[in-house]
Amino acid sequence: MIWRFTLRRLAVGFVQLSVLVIAVFFLIRLLPADPVARFIGMNASPEAYALAEQSLGLDLPVTSQFGIFLLGDGDEGDGLIGGDLGTSWVTGSSVNQEIRQFLPVTLELITLSFLVAVGLGVPIGVFGAVNPGGAADKGTLIYGLFAGSQPEFSWGIIFIFIFFVILGVAPGPLGRLSPLTDPPDFVTGAITIDALLAGRVDIFLEALWYLSLPILTLSFVLSGPIIKMVRENVAQTMNADFMFYGQAAGLPRNVLARDALRAAFAPALTLIGILFGFMIGGAVLIESIFSISGLGQYAIRSILAFDYPAIQGVVLTISALTLLIYLAIDVCQALLDPRVSV
């Protein structure tokens, strides 16, 4: 049952991605931009311009370009069908490799941030729901409004100012490691995992230390909606008839608490998944402020340089990941709640 559902959803996701590929490919070519001029400079001779245009493949008709993008051009690259996203016009290296390098950085950052936000948000939300109107409940409400009152980059700058500049208790916004430390061998791309794989606990701790401010900033903003959602769901569940009946049937408190959490968690799961999908592309400003070269940085750089293959690669990666995350949420929902028909 669940397998059939997953397969069907994957098939639908494949169709969605295919449409997206076509849309992205043609839309960026409709932009009133001249990537060739950007590539060789404004003062290049017409011959040099023509040569560059030819080397980028932009002299061909758009449909032929799409064909090459999909199927490859024979001598280099297999095209999208073969899983090859092409070669970056700026760096000349494979887009696949570049995404392979930048994506784990972003995933590491937002996964750690979500662990902190969920780890703090769920207990705080439950506590607020169990003691409605109490000081903690009011405090979290004000906190939620406060944290949501400014965009995350603004909080990032404020936190750097407070914790690094004034108090001096946090590292500067210098990336994921001190510039003097040699990073561990590239295995997964997530520096904390790579450090552990290399057996370097000192680098692992250093990475956590350098990531602490960006994680604080992201989880500060993310935990607002998570707390609110969990609080509302748990409060609603506690008022549900089945909780009252469970009490009337003499079920012990710990059993009742588990019942409530199970019923309340399913909707919160959806919110967390959606926020996560959103953050894959949305953490770009935090990456900028803290000099973390993640996928968002890569996307910005590619867009500013009119690096078409890179833009296509980033959009496809983010979309595919988001679709997979939504699918994972739906599968989890169905496993948690028998009423969700799959």
Partner: protein, 592 residues
């Protein structure tokens, strides 16, 4: 009863208040003796449920218990700690609530929910507990309990979920069972089966019961003693026979007398071979809502359409107004073909046919005042000049005995019974010839029900109005209709004059329906009758209908041919039709 003097549960000076300090219960003193069944009754808002919960030291929402004692076995429940209460609730005192489907956790299998309560209160664990759950489900009359134990609550019907709840409550052999309107929302035949089971179980196990209900029929049939509440105070604590006698004197129902008097000339409404199916999403199957219904209704006549939920009554009503397009069949109104009517002619016909729906709060715009809602039909149909609208509105409100001050209010500030009468008044504004009333009383307390029926009878006398009263409540139909049409699974199974249907029903389904009806008299208690004509189980799914007689799967009289041959509606006499090939045979069997 030998041990009737042993009080098992008693409340002394019990008071409950809501957060806004409005007292809900004040100084309640009641008791419950071993093996006794006590009915707890009173109007809505009288504090019945609050009292039932307070006996378990529980309150809902913002209410809290402010004083008094609840004594159970020399202990005051209100003075116990939560942990001590956990051990008493569910084990010694069990609760059954209304809305069983929301009282069960949506994400656990029902068998598991029974077994974990059983385990909590010292029952065996694991497979043994699961066995106990299945055994309890079988005891409360659930077919195929092994499979049902694995079901989730959303896969069960309301009746089945209610049984799961009673299985859960009784699994621990409690000394006391408190049931809060356990049958509200159930069909009559299911209600009777359910209450029978509960009554028998209570008598077998010696469980004392407190049954919260508004239905005089239930009080008369199943209770030994009745406690009546009004505005949070006990106003009566008497034996059941005394209580019911008192309430009969208050409401005297005169049934319609001049039956068949008005069946002259052409019928006003004629339905022939009506059929309606609904496609089932994602499959090629259809839900057969109405399957070959024919009926006729004369000018000034009132016809009752009865049957359990899922029998297609409401669909027939909606097809009559062309709110639903029928798949086949012909509907004629006053000589005009309604099935083909469109545009202006349909609008004219709709002015003459009006409908009153089940839930009055759903049929009024919550943001409009009553007056705005009543002006609407006048303006749409240009009934009277706008200047006279106010007079017309006031006239129609007077007809249904609603105070004119209500006009300025909004629906949420009006009680359900009054709002339903306003809905009737609104229907009358277009001066209709024919009214379809779709379960107009099912949301109302008995008091409100009586008023609606009185209003309907008055309207018929004053305006010569014809109406089709769709209801599952036989009392309403008996008192307000000339003829009765009984439906089962989309088919008309019996048609006849009200007196014939009630005194000599011919179809086994009609018999069961009437047998399940709880008379408001302790002299003719259902539980005392030995020759009850019951049905087994619940109404089959209208998707995969039985091949032969639709009732064959539930009918105790069914023989071989019943399961294979489709039944036709046949004349029993000049105005009594029945759809049962064995109708006369069964009658002979019973006579001998």
């Amino acid at each position: 009863m030998a041990d009737s003097q042993n009080t098992v549960l008693s409340a002394h000076g019990l008071s409950v208040e809501y957060a806004d300090d409005s007292p809900t219960l004040a100084d309640i003193n009641i008791d419950l003796k071993a093996g006794e069944i006590v009915g707890l009754t009173g109007g809505s808002g009288s504090g019945k449920s609050t009292l039932a919960y307070a006996l378990l030291a529980l309150t809902r929402h913002s209410a809290r218990i402010t004083g008094g004692r609840v004594e159970f076995g020399n202990r005051d429940l209100l003075a116990l700690s939560d942990i001590e209460l956990e051990q008493i609730r569910g084990r010694d005192i069990a609760l059954i609530v209304q809305n069983p489907r929301s009282a069960l956790h949506p994400m656990y299998q029902v068998g598991q929910q029974i077994s974990r309560v059983y385990q909590t209160h010292g029952g065996s664990r694991g497979a043994m507990a699961q066995q106990r759950a299945i055994e309890m489900l079988r005891l409360v009359g659930i077919n195929d309990p092994e499979r049902r134990a694995d079901a989730f609550v959303h896969e069960l019907s309301g009746g089945m979920a209610q049984r799961v709840l009673i299985a859960l409550a009784l699994s621990t052999n409690p000394k006391i069972l408190i049931a809060d309107e356990p049958t509200s929302g159930l069909d009559v035949t299911v209600q009777a089966q359910f209450l029978d089971t509960m009554w028998e179980t209570s008598r077998k196990t010696g469980t004392a019961m407190m049954l919260v209900t508004q239905e005089p029929g239930i009080l008369a049939n199943y209770c030994d003693r009745v406690i009546e509440l009004d505005a949070g105070r006990v106003i009566k604590d008497v034996s059941a026979s005394e209580f019911v006698y008192g309430s009969i004197l208050q409401s005297t129902d005169s049934p319609v007398s001049d039956q068949n008097a008005c069946q002259v000339g052409e019928p006003l409404v004629m339905v022939e071979g009506l059929r309606k199916t609904f496609p089932l999403r994602g499959t090629k199957k259809v839900v057969q809502a109405v399957d070959d219904v024919s009926l006729s209704l004369f000018k000034g006549e009132s016809v009752g359409l009865v049957g359990e939920s899922g029998s297609g009554k409401s669909t027939v009503g909606r097809c009559l107004l062309k709110l639903l397009e029928s798949d086949a069949g012909k509907i004629t109104f006053d000589g005009q073909d309604l099935t083909d009517a469109t545009g202006e002619s349909l609008r004219q016909l709709r002015r003459r046919i009006q409908i009153v729906q089940q839930d009055p709060y759903d049929s009024f715009d919550p943001r409009w005042t009553i007056e705005q809602s009543l002006r609407d039909p006048i303006e749409i149909h240009n009934i009277v000049p706008i200047a006279d609208a106010k007079t017309a509105i006031e006239d129609s409100l007077n007809r249904v005995s609603v105070e004119l001050s209500t006009l300025a209010r909004r629906p949420k500030d009006v009680s359900a019974g009054v709002l339903q009468r306003i809905a009737i008044a609104r229907a009358l504004l277009t001066k209709p010839d024919f009214l379809v009333l779709d379960e107009p009383t099912s949301m109302l307390a008995p008091q409100g029900r009586h008023i609606i029926l009185d209003v309907l009878k008055q309207l018929r006398t004053d305006l010569d109005l014809s109406y089709l009263l769709i209801s599952h409540d036989l009392t309403s139909v008996a008192s307000a209709c000339d003829r009765v049409v009984v439906m089962y699974l989309g088919q008309v199974v019996e048609v006849g004059p009200t007196s014939d249907i009630f005194s000599k029903p011919a179809h086994p389904y009609t018999k069961a329906l009437i047998g399940a009806h709880l008379e408001e008299s302790p002299q003719t208690r259902r539980v005392d009758k030995s020759d009850r004509l019951d049905l087994e189980g619940e109404i089959p799914s209208p998707i995969d209908l039985p091949v032969g007689c639709y009732l064959a799967t539930r009918c105790l009289q069914a023989k071989g041919a019943c399961h294979t041959e489709r039944q036709e509606l046949e004349k029993l006499n000049s105005h009594h039709d029945v759809r049962c090939m064995r109708a006369s045979e069964i009658e002979l069997d019973e006579a001998s």
